[in-house]
Subunit: 220 residues, 2 copies
DNA sequence: ACCTGAACACCGTTCAAGT
DNA sequence: ACCTGAACACCGTTCAAGT
Protein backbone atom coordinates (compact mmCIF):
# COMPACT_ATOMS: atom_id res chain seq x y z
CA UNK A 1 0.00 0.00 0.00
CA UNK A 2 2.24 2.79 -1.25
CA UNK A 3 1.10 6.27 -0.38
CA UNK A 4 0.71 7.25 -4.00
CA UNK A 5 -1.52 9.92 -5.52
CA UNK A 6 -4.24 7.28 -5.94
CA UNK A 7 -4.78 7.38 -2.19
CA UNK A 8 -7.02 10.42 -1.66
CA UNK A 9 -6.13 12.48 1.37
CA UNK A 10 -9.50 11.97 3.05
CA UNK A 11 -8.34 13.85 6.09
CA UNK A 12 -5.85 16.53 5.08
CA UNK A 13 -3.34 17.19 7.82
CA UNK A 14 -4.14 19.89 10.31
CA UNK A 15 -2.46 23.23 9.70
CA UNK A 16 -2.78 26.71 11.09
CA UNK A 17 -4.25 27.81 7.76
CA UNK A 18 -7.00 25.16 7.84
CA UNK A 19 -7.85 26.09 11.41
CA UNK A 20 -8.11 29.77 10.54
CA UNK A 21 -10.32 29.02 7.54
CA UNK A 22 -12.57 26.79 9.62
CA UNK A 23 -12.88 29.55 12.19
CA UNK A 24 -13.86 32.06 9.51
CA UNK A 25 -16.47 29.72 8.03
CA UNK A 26 -17.87 29.04 11.46
CA UNK A 27 -18.14 32.72 12.36
CA UNK A 28 -19.74 33.64 9.04
CA UNK A 29 -22.24 30.80 9.36
CA UNK A 30 -23.14 31.01 13.03
CA UNK A 31 -21.89 34.35 14.28
CA UNK A 32 -19.03 35.56 16.41
CA UNK A 33 -20.39 34.15 19.65
CA UNK A 34 -20.36 30.65 18.19
CA UNK A 35 -16.59 30.71 17.86
CA UNK A 36 -15.07 28.44 20.48
CA UNK A 37 -12.01 26.24 20.27
CA UNK A 38 -14.27 23.26 20.79
CA UNK A 39 -16.56 24.30 17.94
CA UNK A 40 -13.64 24.82 15.56
CA UNK A 41 -12.28 21.40 16.47
CA UNK A 42 -15.67 19.82 15.81
CA UNK A 43 -15.81 21.66 12.48
CA UNK A 44 -12.55 19.93 11.52
CA UNK A 45 -13.48 16.57 13.02
CA UNK A 46 -10.60 16.70 15.43
CA UNK A 47 -10.03 16.78 19.16
CA UNK A 48 -9.96 20.18 20.80
CA UNK A 49 -6.41 19.88 21.97
CA UNK A 50 -5.12 19.06 18.50
CA UNK A 51 -5.64 22.70 17.60
CA UNK A 52 -3.01 23.71 20.14
CA UNK A 53 -0.33 21.98 18.10
CA UNK A 54 -0.76 24.69 15.46
CA UNK A 55 -2.15 27.67 17.32
CA UNK A 56 -0.86 28.80 20.73
CA UNK A 57 -4.22 30.04 22.02
CA UNK A 58 -7.57 31.48 21.06
CA UNK A 59 -6.36 35.08 20.90
CA UNK A 60 -3.74 34.08 18.37
CA UNK A 61 -6.37 32.26 16.32
CA UNK A 62 -8.41 35.46 16.22
CA UNK A 63 -5.34 37.38 15.07
CA UNK A 64 -4.98 34.74 12.36
CA UNK A 65 -8.52 35.47 11.22
CA UNK A 66 -7.76 39.19 11.09
CA UNK A 67 -4.53 38.52 9.24
CA UNK A 68 -6.26 36.36 6.64
CA UNK A 69 -8.98 38.90 5.89
CA UNK A 70 -6.58 41.85 5.65
CA UNK A 71 -4.16 39.86 3.48
CA UNK A 72 -7.05 39.01 1.16
CA UNK A 73 -8.08 42.63 0.75
CA UNK A 74 -7.86 43.58 -2.89
CA UNK A 75 -6.02 46.87 -3.18
CA UNK A 76 -6.25 47.78 -6.85
CA UNK A 77 -4.50 51.00 -7.71
CA UNK A 78 -3.39 52.92 -10.73
CA UNK A 79 -0.86 55.55 -9.80
CA UNK A 80 -1.69 57.33 -13.03
CA UNK A 81 -5.16 58.11 -11.67
CA UNK A 82 -6.22 61.29 -9.95
CA UNK A 83 -5.42 61.10 -6.20
CA UNK A 84 -9.10 61.51 -5.41
CA UNK A 85 -10.15 58.45 -7.39
CA UNK A 86 -7.26 56.53 -5.87
CA UNK A 87 -8.36 57.52 -2.37
CA UNK A 88 -11.94 56.51 -3.12
CA UNK A 89 -10.75 53.14 -4.44
CA UNK A 90 -8.78 52.45 -1.28
CA UNK A 91 -11.59 53.29 1.09
CA UNK A 92 -14.11 51.31 -0.95
CA UNK A 93 -11.72 48.34 -0.95
CA UNK A 94 -11.81 48.39 2.81
CA UNK A 95 -15.57 48.54 2.72
CA UNK A 96 -15.75 45.64 0.27
CA UNK A 97 -13.68 43.45 2.59
CA UNK A 98 -16.01 44.36 5.43
CA UNK A 99 -18.95 43.25 3.30
CA UNK A 100 -17.27 40.01 2.24
CA UNK A 101 -16.83 39.01 5.88
CA UNK A 102 -19.71 40.75 7.67
CA UNK A 103 -19.55 38.52 10.76
CA UNK A 104 -15.75 38.51 10.98
CA UNK A 105 -15.21 42.22 10.58
CA UNK A 106 -15.50 42.93 14.28
CA UNK A 107 -12.76 40.39 14.96
CA UNK A 108 -10.64 41.89 12.19
CA UNK A 109 -10.91 45.40 13.58
CA UNK A 110 -10.20 44.45 17.16
CA UNK A 111 -7.10 42.31 16.62
CA UNK A 112 -3.69 43.36 15.54
CA UNK A 113 -2.33 42.15 12.25
CA UNK A 114 1.27 41.15 11.89
CA UNK A 115 3.80 43.09 9.92
CA UNK A 116 4.14 43.55 7.08
CA UNK A 117 0.67 42.67 5.81
CA UNK A 118 -0.96 45.04 8.29
CA UNK A 119 1.04 47.91 6.86
CA UNK A 120 0.04 47.46 3.23
CA UNK A 121 -3.10 49.61 3.42
CA UNK A 122 -1.16 52.25 5.36
CA UNK A 123 1.58 52.34 2.74
CA UNK A 124 -1.01 52.78 0.02
CA UNK A 125 -2.79 55.57 1.90
CA UNK A 126 0.45 57.45 2.52
CA UNK A 127 1.49 57.06 -1.11
CA UNK A 128 -1.76 58.58 -2.30
CA UNK A 129 -1.54 61.47 0.17
CA UNK A 130 2.01 62.07 -0.97
CA UNK A 131 0.90 62.12 -4.59
CA UNK A 132 -1.82 64.60 -3.66
CA UNK A 133 0.90 66.94 -2.45
CA UNK A 134 0.58 66.71 1.32
CA UNK A 135 3.63 66.71 3.55
CA UNK A 136 4.46 63.68 5.66
CA UNK A 137 2.94 64.76 8.96
CA UNK A 138 -0.28 65.84 7.28
CA UNK A 139 -0.41 62.61 5.29
CA UNK A 140 -0.31 60.58 8.47
CA UNK A 141 -3.10 62.63 9.98
CA UNK A 142 -5.20 62.35 6.85
CA UNK A 143 -4.74 58.60 6.86
CA UNK A 144 -5.91 58.41 10.46
CA UNK A 145 -8.94 60.61 9.86
CA UNK A 146 -10.04 58.66 6.79
CA UNK A 147 -9.53 55.39 8.58
CA UNK A 148 -11.45 56.60 11.62
CA UNK A 149 -14.39 57.51 9.42
CA UNK A 150 -14.34 54.23 7.50
CA UNK A 151 -14.06 52.22 10.70
CA UNK A 152 -16.82 54.05 12.49
CA UNK A 153 -19.20 54.00 9.53
CA UNK A 154 -18.61 50.30 9.05
CA UNK A 155 -19.04 49.35 12.68
CA UNK A 156 -22.19 51.38 12.92
CA UNK A 157 -23.63 49.88 9.75
CA UNK A 158 -22.77 46.30 10.78
CA UNK A 159 -24.43 46.96 14.10
CA UNK A 160 -21.25 46.26 16.06
CA UNK A 161 -21.61 49.79 17.33
CA UNK A 162 -25.14 50.27 18.54
CA UNK A 163 -24.81 53.75 19.91
CA UNK A 164 -27.19 56.21 18.34
CA UNK A 165 -28.43 53.42 16.18
CA UNK A 166 -31.88 54.28 15.02
CA UNK A 167 -33.32 50.86 14.56
CA UNK A 168 -35.20 49.62 17.60
CA UNK A 169 -37.27 46.42 17.25
CA UNK A 170 -40.31 48.41 16.21
CA UNK A 171 -39.17 51.91 15.25
CA UNK A 172 -42.54 53.47 14.55
CA UNK A 173 -44.07 52.69 17.92
CA UNK A 174 -40.92 53.69 19.80
CA UNK A 175 -40.55 56.97 18.02
CA UNK A 176 -44.20 57.59 18.79
CA UNK A 177 -43.43 57.26 22.50
CA UNK A 178 -40.93 60.09 22.39
CA UNK A 179 -42.06 63.41 23.72
CA UNK A 180 -42.19 65.73 20.69
CA UNK A 181 -41.51 68.70 22.95
CA UNK A 182 -38.24 67.19 24.14
CA UNK A 183 -37.30 65.56 20.84
CA UNK A 184 -38.73 67.82 18.13
CA UNK A 185 -36.11 67.03 15.50
CA UNK A 186 -35.95 63.30 16.09
CA UNK A 187 -39.71 62.92 15.87
CA UNK A 188 -39.92 65.18 12.83
CA UNK A 189 -37.24 63.16 11.05
CA UNK A 190 -38.47 59.73 12.14
CA UNK A 191 -38.75 58.43 8.58
CA UNK A 192 -35.33 59.76 7.55
CA UNK A 193 -33.82 58.15 10.64
CA UNK A 194 -35.33 54.73 10.04
CA UNK A 195 -35.11 54.45 6.27
CA UNK A 196 -31.66 54.91 4.85
CA UNK A 197 -29.36 53.49 2.23
CA UNK A 198 -26.00 52.50 3.77
CA UNK A 199 -24.12 52.93 0.49
CA UNK A 200 -25.31 56.50 0.04
CA UNK A 201 -24.65 57.31 3.67
CA UNK A 202 -21.13 55.95 3.44
CA UNK A 203 -20.45 57.84 0.24
CA UNK A 204 -21.81 61.07 1.70
CA UNK A 205 -19.29 61.10 4.52
CA UNK A 206 -16.45 59.95 2.29
CA UNK A 207 -17.06 62.70 -0.23
CA UNK A 208 -17.32 65.20 2.61
CA UNK A 209 -13.81 64.27 3.74
CA UNK A 210 -12.37 64.22 0.22
CA UNK A 211 -13.76 67.64 -0.61
CA UNK A 212 -12.26 68.96 2.62
CA UNK A 213 -8.88 67.52 1.67
CA UNK A 214 -9.17 69.07 -1.75
CA UNK A 215 -9.61 72.47 -0.12
CA UNK A 216 -6.54 72.01 2.08
CA UNK A 217 -3.37 73.90 1.15
CA UNK A 218 -0.70 71.69 -0.35
CA UNK A 219 2.53 71.88 -2.33
CA UNK A 220 2.78 71.91 -6.14
CA UNK B 1 -34.32 48.22 68.48
CA UNK B 2 -36.17 50.64 66.23
CA UNK B 3 -34.73 51.04 62.78
CA UNK B 4 -34.02 54.69 63.26
CA UNK B 5 -31.46 56.88 61.54
CA UNK B 6 -28.96 55.98 64.25
CA UNK B 7 -28.77 52.49 62.77
CA UNK B 8 -26.36 52.87 59.86
CA UNK B 9 -27.33 50.88 56.78
CA UNK B 10 -24.13 48.83 56.78
CA UNK B 11 -25.31 46.83 53.80
CA UNK B 12 -27.53 48.97 51.56
CA UNK B 13 -30.11 46.91 49.75
CA UNK B 14 -29.21 45.56 46.37
CA UNK B 15 -30.55 47.51 43.43
CA UNK B 16 -30.02 47.52 39.70
CA UNK B 17 -28.28 50.87 40.05
CA UNK B 18 -25.78 49.59 42.61
CA UNK B 19 -25.06 46.56 40.44
CA UNK B 20 -24.43 48.73 37.39
CA UNK B 21 -22.12 51.02 39.36
CA UNK B 22 -20.19 48.07 40.74
CA UNK B 23 -19.79 46.70 37.23
CA UNK B 24 -18.45 50.05 36.00
CA UNK B 25 -15.98 50.32 38.86
CA UNK B 26 -14.83 46.77 38.27
CA UNK B 27 -14.29 47.31 34.56
CA UNK B 28 -12.44 50.58 35.06
CA UNK B 29 -10.23 49.01 37.70
CA UNK B 30 -9.51 45.61 36.17
CA UNK B 31 -10.52 45.85 32.54
CA UNK B 32 -13.40 44.59 30.43
CA UNK B 33 -12.36 40.95 30.56
CA UNK B 34 -12.60 40.96 34.36
CA UNK B 35 -16.33 41.63 34.21
CA UNK B 36 -18.19 38.49 35.21
CA UNK B 37 -21.41 38.09 37.14
CA UNK B 38 -19.43 36.31 39.81
CA UNK B 39 -16.91 39.14 40.09
CA UNK B 40 -19.64 41.77 40.35
CA UNK B 41 -21.33 39.75 43.07
CA UNK B 42 -18.06 39.48 44.98
CA UNK B 43 -17.59 43.23 44.57
CA UNK B 44 -20.91 43.74 46.34
CA UNK B 45 -20.35 41.02 48.94
CA UNK B 46 -23.34 39.10 47.73
CA UNK B 47 -24.12 35.73 46.18
CA UNK B 48 -23.99 35.50 42.40
CA UNK B 49 -27.62 34.61 42.02
CA UNK B 50 -28.77 37.60 44.05
CA UNK B 51 -27.90 39.76 41.07
CA UNK B 52 -30.56 38.03 39.03
CA UNK B 53 -33.25 39.49 41.23
CA UNK B 54 -32.46 42.90 39.78
CA UNK B 55 -30.92 42.19 36.40
CA UNK B 56 -32.30 39.58 33.98
CA UNK B 57 -28.92 38.57 32.54
CA UNK B 58 -25.42 39.73 31.77
CA UNK B 59 -26.32 41.31 28.44
CA UNK B 60 -28.86 43.50 30.18
CA UNK B 61 -26.28 44.48 32.79
CA UNK B 62 -23.96 45.59 29.98
CA UNK B 63 -26.78 47.64 28.49
CA UNK B 64 -27.22 49.17 31.91
CA UNK B 65 -23.57 50.20 31.89
CA UNK B 66 -24.00 51.79 28.47
CA UNK B 67 -27.17 53.52 29.60
CA UNK B 68 -25.48 54.96 32.70
CA UNK B 69 -22.52 56.39 30.80
CA UNK B 70 -24.63 57.92 28.04
CA UNK B 71 -27.09 59.37 30.57
CA UNK B 72 -24.17 60.94 32.40
CA UNK B 73 -22.81 62.59 29.28
CA UNK B 74 -22.74 66.32 29.79
CA UNK B 75 -24.27 67.99 26.75
CA UNK B 76 -23.77 71.69 27.33
CA UNK B 77 -25.19 73.86 24.60
CA UNK B 78 -25.97 77.47 23.94
CA UNK B 79 -28.34 77.82 21.02
CA UNK B 80 -27.16 81.40 20.64
CA UNK B 81 -23.73 80.16 19.61
CA UNK B 82 -22.50 79.68 16.08
CA UNK B 83 -23.51 76.24 14.78
CA UNK B 84 -19.86 75.36 14.30
CA UNK B 85 -18.96 75.93 17.93
CA UNK B 86 -22.09 74.04 18.97
CA UNK B 87 -21.09 71.09 16.77
CA UNK B 88 -17.57 71.09 18.18
CA UNK B 89 -18.95 71.14 21.73
CA UNK B 90 -21.17 68.13 21.04
CA UNK B 91 -18.42 66.02 19.52
CA UNK B 92 -15.97 66.94 22.27
CA UNK B 93 -18.60 66.03 24.87
CA UNK B 94 -18.72 62.57 23.40
CA UNK B 95 -14.97 62.38 23.51
CA UNK B 96 -14.89 63.54 27.11
CA UNK B 97 -17.26 60.74 28.13
CA UNK B 98 -15.02 58.28 26.36
CA UNK B 99 -12.07 59.56 28.36
CA UNK B 100 -13.98 59.47 31.66
CA UNK B 101 -14.68 55.77 31.15
CA UNK B 102 -11.79 54.52 29.04
CA UNK B 103 -12.30 50.86 29.89
CA UNK B 104 -16.08 50.97 29.59
CA UNK B 105 -16.29 52.79 26.30
CA UNK B 106 -16.16 49.62 24.25
CA UNK B 107 -19.14 48.27 26.16
CA UNK B 108 -20.96 51.56 25.72
CA UNK B 109 -20.46 51.59 21.98
CA UNK B 110 -21.45 47.98 21.43
CA UNK B 111 -24.66 47.93 23.44
CA UNK B 112 -27.95 49.59 22.68
CA UNK B 113 -29.20 52.29 24.98
CA UNK B 114 -32.87 52.56 25.85
CA UNK B 115 -35.10 55.32 24.66
CA UNK B 116 -35.25 58.14 25.29
CA UNK B 117 -31.78 58.68 26.80
CA UNK B 118 -30.10 57.16 23.75
CA UNK B 119 -31.76 59.73 21.55
CA UNK B 120 -30.60 62.81 23.43
CA UNK B 121 -27.30 63.21 21.53
CA UNK B 122 -29.13 62.57 18.26
CA UNK B 123 -31.71 65.24 19.02
CA UNK B 124 -28.93 67.70 19.79
CA UNK B 125 -27.04 66.89 16.61
CA UNK B 126 -30.14 67.29 14.47
CA UNK B 127 -31.02 70.57 16.16
CA UNK B 128 -27.59 71.96 15.39
CA UNK B 129 -27.69 70.81 11.77
CA UNK B 130 -31.12 72.38 11.46
CA UNK B 131 -29.81 75.65 12.87
CA UNK B 132 -26.96 75.51 10.38
CA UNK B 133 -29.53 75.51 7.60
CA UNK B 134 -29.43 71.91 6.39
CA UNK B 135 -32.60 70.11 5.36
CA UNK B 136 -33.79 67.08 7.30
CA UNK B 137 -32.36 64.33 5.12
CA UNK B 138 -28.98 66.02 4.95
CA UNK B 139 -29.00 66.63 8.70
CA UNK B 140 -29.45 62.92 9.34
CA UNK B 141 -26.58 62.08 7.02
CA UNK B 142 -24.34 64.68 8.60
CA UNK B 143 -25.12 63.29 12.04
CA UNK B 144 -24.19 59.80 10.89
CA UNK B 145 -20.94 60.94 9.27
CA UNK B 146 -19.83 62.94 12.30
CA UNK B 147 -20.73 60.09 14.61
CA UNK B 148 -18.89 57.59 12.43
CA UNK B 149 -15.77 59.71 12.59
CA UNK B 150 -15.97 60.25 16.35
CA UNK B 151 -16.59 56.55 16.96
CA UNK B 152 -13.80 55.38 14.74
CA UNK B 153 -11.27 57.88 16.05
CA UNK B 154 -12.15 56.98 19.63
CA UNK B 155 -12.00 53.22 19.14
CA UNK B 156 -8.70 53.50 17.36
CA UNK B 157 -7.24 55.74 20.03
CA UNK B 158 -8.44 53.52 22.88
CA UNK B 159 -6.93 50.57 21.09
CA UNK B 160 -10.24 48.76 20.79
CA UNK B 161 -9.67 48.89 17.07
CA UNK B 162 -6.18 47.68 16.37
CA UNK B 163 -6.32 47.75 12.60
CA UNK B 164 -3.63 49.95 11.09
CA UNK B 165 -2.53 50.76 14.56
CA UNK B 166 1.04 51.87 14.41
CA UNK B 167 2.22 50.86 17.82
CA UNK B 168 3.84 47.44 17.88
CA UNK B 169 5.66 46.37 21.09
CA UNK B 170 8.89 47.83 19.82
CA UNK B 171 8.10 50.14 16.90
CA UNK B 172 11.59 51.09 15.89
CA UNK B 173 12.86 47.55 15.43
CA UNK B 174 9.72 46.46 13.61
CA UNK B 175 9.74 49.38 11.23
CA UNK B 176 13.37 48.59 10.58
CA UNK B 177 12.38 45.12 9.42
CA UNK B 178 10.13 46.50 6.71
CA UNK B 179 11.46 46.42 3.20
CA UNK B 180 11.95 50.09 2.24
CA UNK B 181 11.40 49.19 -1.39
CA UNK B 182 7.95 47.81 -0.67
CA UNK B 183 7.07 50.31 2.06
CA UNK B 184 8.83 53.53 1.10
CA UNK B 185 6.32 55.90 2.69
CA UNK B 186 5.81 53.94 5.89
CA UNK B 187 9.54 53.69 6.52
CA UNK B 188 10.10 57.34 5.63
CA UNK B 189 7.35 58.42 8.04
CA UNK B 190 8.25 56.03 10.86
CA UNK B 191 8.61 58.80 13.42
CA UNK B 192 5.37 60.53 12.40
CA UNK B 193 3.58 57.20 12.62
CA UNK B 194 4.82 56.33 16.09
CA UNK B 195 4.78 59.72 17.77
CA UNK B 196 1.46 61.49 17.71
CA UNK B 197 -0.80 63.56 19.89
CA UNK B 198 -4.30 62.05 20.03
CA UNK B 199 -5.94 65.40 20.77
CA UNK B 200 -4.45 67.08 17.73
CA UNK B 201 -5.24 64.09 15.54
CA UNK B 202 -8.85 64.08 16.70
CA UNK B 203 -9.19 67.79 16.15
CA UNK B 204 -7.65 67.57 12.69
CA UNK B 205 -10.32 65.17 11.44
CA UNK B 206 -13.10 67.04 13.20
CA UNK B 207 -12.13 70.36 11.65
CA UNK B 208 -11.82 68.66 8.28
CA UNK B 209 -15.44 67.57 8.51
CA UNK B 210 -16.69 70.89 9.82
CA UNK B 211 -14.98 72.85 7.07
CA UNK B 212 -16.54 70.50 4.52
CA UNK B 213 -19.96 71.11 6.03
CA UNK B 214 -19.36 74.83 5.92
CA UNK B 215 -18.75 74.59 2.19
CA UNK B 216 -21.96 72.64 1.59
CA UNK B 217 -24.92 74.48 0.03
CA UNK B 218 -27.68 75.23 2.50
CA UNK B 219 -30.77 77.39 2.92
CA UNK B 220 -30.88 80.92 4.35
C1' DA C 1 6.12 15.52 15.86
C1' DC C 2 1.52 15.27 16.33
C1' DC C 3 -2.72 13.70 18.49
C1' DT C 4 -5.77 12.94 22.39
C1' DG C 5 -8.77 12.27 26.92
C1' DA C 6 -9.05 13.63 31.51
C1' DA C 7 -8.90 17.24 34.46
C1' DC C 8 -8.81 22.15 36.28
C1' DA C 9 -10.45 26.57 36.95
C1' DC C 10 -13.39 29.25 35.21
C1' DC C 11 -18.07 31.00 32.90
C1' DG C 12 -23.71 32.31 32.68
C1' DT C 13 -27.82 30.64 34.12
C1' DT C 14 -31.79 27.22 35.97
C1' DC C 15 -33.83 25.39 39.77
C1' DA C 16 -35.40 24.42 44.17
C1' DA C 17 -34.96 25.65 48.77
C1' DG C 18 -34.78 28.91 52.15
C1' DT C 19 -36.35 33.62 54.72
C1' DA D 1 -40.11 39.65 47.68
C1' DC D 2 -35.59 38.74 47.99
C1' DC D 3 -31.61 35.80 48.85
C1' DT D 4 -28.86 31.65 48.24
C1' DG D 5 -26.17 26.99 47.28
C1' DA D 6 -26.04 23.25 44.31
C1' DA D 7 -26.03 21.90 39.83
C1' DC D 8 -25.83 22.08 34.61
C1' DA D 9 -23.87 22.98 30.37
C1' DC D 10 -20.61 25.34 28.74
C1' DC D 11 -15.68 27.77 28.27
C1' DG D 12 -9.97 27.96 27.46
C1' DT D 13 -6.10 25.67 28.67
C1' DT D 14 -2.53 22.34 31.32
C1' DC D 15 -0.86 17.98 31.69
C1' DA D 16 0.36 13.41 31.01
C1' DA D 17 -0.22 9.68 28.08
C1' DG D 18 -0.31 7.80 23.75
C1' DT D 19 1.50 7.09 18.50
Amino acid sequence: MPKSASEPAVRPSLTRERIVLAAIELVEREGEDALSMRAVAAELGVAVMSLYNHVPNKADLLSGVAQHVVAGMGLPDDSADDWKTRARALIWAFRRAAHDYPECINIVLTHSVDFPVGMRPAERALAIADAAGFDGATSVRIMRAMLAYALGAQMREIGAVKMLNDLPPDPSTLFAQLDPAEFPHVTALATELTEHDPETDFEFGLELLISALDALPRRS
